[in-house]
């Protein structure tokens, strides 16, 4: 029983940050219809910026709690600016082209960002462990957990709720939903679709890099981080259904549990399991678990 609980709790902790990354990916797909391969790079970018912020704060002899705040604030500012500029400066030029072409554009962005992070932060692993001890250790059902990991659960739940509330219960959210459903109609109703695009993309980037920042104290930052993360978040949004918030949540929990279960029971099957789930979902429900069927033109 205890063993089972360990798997569930580990899975949930994994699911937390995966959910935040996948939320950004699914939002960008919903609004802009772009499957963003560079999404993992924004995660890595957030993690690297967070590491720099934490290290800077620690170097000035300030407490780690300040480092935690500094890392979130700096990541939020830089990431949303990068996202906004990228959408206005680059992606805008390719709207109206094939979905696959846009996929390749983001692949190019992925390649570029991969080297930019190497140029700025080098190729050696970077650590930012100071905030990890911030919340102490917690005993739970006879097991010891790092407090930081458990704090992630309410944080990601709050982010998820905020997005859901923002989309479904506010005027701005309703406008975004209108753009998701029918862009042309929204334009003719006077919605500034350009602005919605830019904000949605910046928000997607923000979510990816926030997840990066939140996980930065737990991991070592090194090249290859982005390509691993994007693969996981792809699996999540495909399982849940591209463009669906609930789907991202369910997908994240499934993938988190699958990862935790295979780590504890069958470590050699970790990556394999996730893709098997994804392939199985695609075989039976190609639109994902949470996507409504849409009509198509004949």
């Amino acid at each position: 029983m205890n063993f089972f609980l360990t798997i569930v709790l580990d899975g949930l902790i994994q699911a937390c940050w995966l959910f935040i990354v996948a939320l950004g990916l699914t939002l960008v797909f919903g609004v802009l219809k772009i499957l963003n391969i560079a999404h993992g790079s924004f995660y890595a970018l957030g993690a690297y910026i967070a590491a720099t912020a934490v290290t800077l704060v620690a170097a000035h002899g300030l407490p780690p709690s300040l480092g935690f705040v500094a890392m979130l604030v700096s990541v939020a500012l830089i990431a949303s600016a990068v996202g906004f500029l990228l959408e206005r400066g680059l992606l805008k030029m390719f709207y109206g082209r094939d979905e696959v072409v846009l996929l390749l554009v983001t692949y190019a962005v992925f390649l570029i960002l991969e080297d930019v992070t190497k140029l700025i932060w080098g190729v050696n692993p970077i650590y930012a462990t100071q905030p990890y001890e911030l919340f102490g250790n917690v005993e739970f059902a006879g097991l010891y957990y790092v407090g930081y990991d458990l704090v992630l659960i309410p944080i990601s739940a709050a982010i998820g709720f905020a997005i859901w509330f923002g989309l479904n219960r506010t005027i701005t959210g309703k406008i975004v939903l209108a753009v998701i459903h029918n862009e042309e109609m929204s334009v003719s109703m006077g919605v500034r679709v350009n602005r919605v695009y830019a904000v949605a993309f910046a928000f997607g980037v923000l979510l990816a890099s926030l997840a990066g920042a939140l996980t930065a104290p737990k991991i070592s930052m090194q090249p290859g981080l982005s390509s691993d993360v994007i693969i996981l978040s792809f699996a999540i949004v495909v399982i849940g259904g591209l463009g669906s918030v609930e789907g991202a949540a369910v997908g994240a929990v499934l993938v988190g549990l699958a990862r935790a279960a295979s780590v504890h029971l069958m470590p050699q099957a970790e990556l394999f399991m996730i893709y098997l789930i994804m392939a199985a979902v695609l075989m039976f429900r190609p639109e994902g678990l949470f996507k409504r069927e849409t009509a198509r033109r004949i």
Binding site: V100, Y107, L276, P286
Partner: protein, 329 residues
């Protein structure tokens, strides 16, 4: 209908390029071998892309071909280069035969995602399989040709170059014939609208499946070349960034011309080796900017540089044809 170059012209071209390898310096020889091998797999992506589906998981068949050849080479001592290419193609093709019918129902982004997922399943399995060397992979011996063993590295390089250029050239000729065939034209129709094709009595799934299997065969053979060139194999063959590079070549080439695939592959290898030499830490950056530039300024690929003229010439013949029909009617 588009005529294109004559069959014998194409065969002569392949022979000329092969013999040209005798005068090339050694470093260009291995570069050209890799370029030819990448062109082969990218050609498969182009074949498939004519049905409107882009595979982001050709690494699956690339790795299947590579591992199949490597395992058979180590188990039974099959070192013949031509035999290895055939084994690679068969491994890729068999896997394509299994996966193709399942995957043909999907299109667009889901098709891409599913192929990517399948290649990552293989990657995940290979990384963890200690019998196959895990993430380090394993080595294989030098290839031979028809019982000849090449000890001089230059001769060995030329042999590999010749086999890869001839194979890729033959595949290119086959693709040209395929593009002009009924199946090739049906593929273009599926790309436009698969439901309309179904109404005309052609199975769109079947068209996609056949193209998918052809792409898998090309990818498997390409995996055999990559193995022979590196004499080493590891799970990176199946990783998604490997597949991404092949899609890159296909996009660079555009979907109209077979020759463009070879030019694009060679261009990519040149860019890669020069930026490796002069900008060792930023070659992905160069690659990314290059890709953006091509998508922005040559949306139909580098093939459009010389295909465009032919389209212009086609217009008068088309009107002439309809005028003729008018007379008959």
């Amino acid at each position: 209908m588009k005529q294109g170059p004559h069959l014998f012209v194409m065969i002569a071209l392949v022979a000329a390029v092969t013999l040209f390898g005798r005068v090339l310096p050694t470093w260009t020889l291995s570069l050209a071998t890799i370029a030819a091998s990448n062109a082969l797999i990218a050609l498969g992506i182009v074949v498939l892309a004519r049905t409107g589906n882009v595979s982001f998981g050709q690494g699956l068949f690339f790795a299947a071909g590579g591992y199949g050849v490597a395992l058979i080479a180590n188990a039974w001592g099959v070192t013949d280069a031509v035999a290895q290419v055939i084994i690679g193609a068969v491994c890729g093709g068999l896997l394509g035969l299994v996966i193709g019918p399942l995957i043909a129902r999907y299109s667009g982004i889901f098709f891409g995602m599913l192929t990517l997922a399948l290649s990552m399943v293989l990657y995940g399995a290979l990384v963890k399989s200690t019998a196959l060397g895990g993430s380090d992979g394993f080595n294989v011996g030098r290839p031979s040709l028809f019982g000849m063993i090449f000890t001089d590295p230059r001769e060995a390089d030329f042999m590999l170059y010749a086999v890869s250029v001839v194979t890729t050239g033959l595949a290119g000729i086959a693709a040209t014939i395929l593009f002009r065939s009924e199946l090739g034209l049906a593929s273009l129709a599926v790309r436009e609208n698969n439901l309309r094709v179904e109404y005309l009595g052609i199975s769109a799934n079947r068209v996609v499946t056949i193209n998918f299997i052809i792409a898998a065969i090309f990818a498997g053979a390409s995996g055999a070349f990559a193995l022979m060139a590196q004499r080493h194999i590891d799970p990176q063959f199946a990783y998604w960034t490997t597949s991404g590079e092949f899609v890159f070549v296909a996009v660079l080439a555009g979907y109209q011309s077979v020759a463009a695939v070879f030019v694009a592959s060679l261009a990519l290898e040149l860019v890669r080796s020069f930026s490796n030499l002069y900008l060792p830490n930023t070659w992905q950056l160069v690659l990314g900017v290059f890709l953006l530039g091509v998508i922005l300024f040559l949306p139909r690929g580098i093939g459009s540089l010389w295909i465009r003229d032919r389209h212009k010439k086609k217009i008068p013949t088309a009107t002439a044809l309809s005028a003729e029909k008018g007379v008959v009617l």
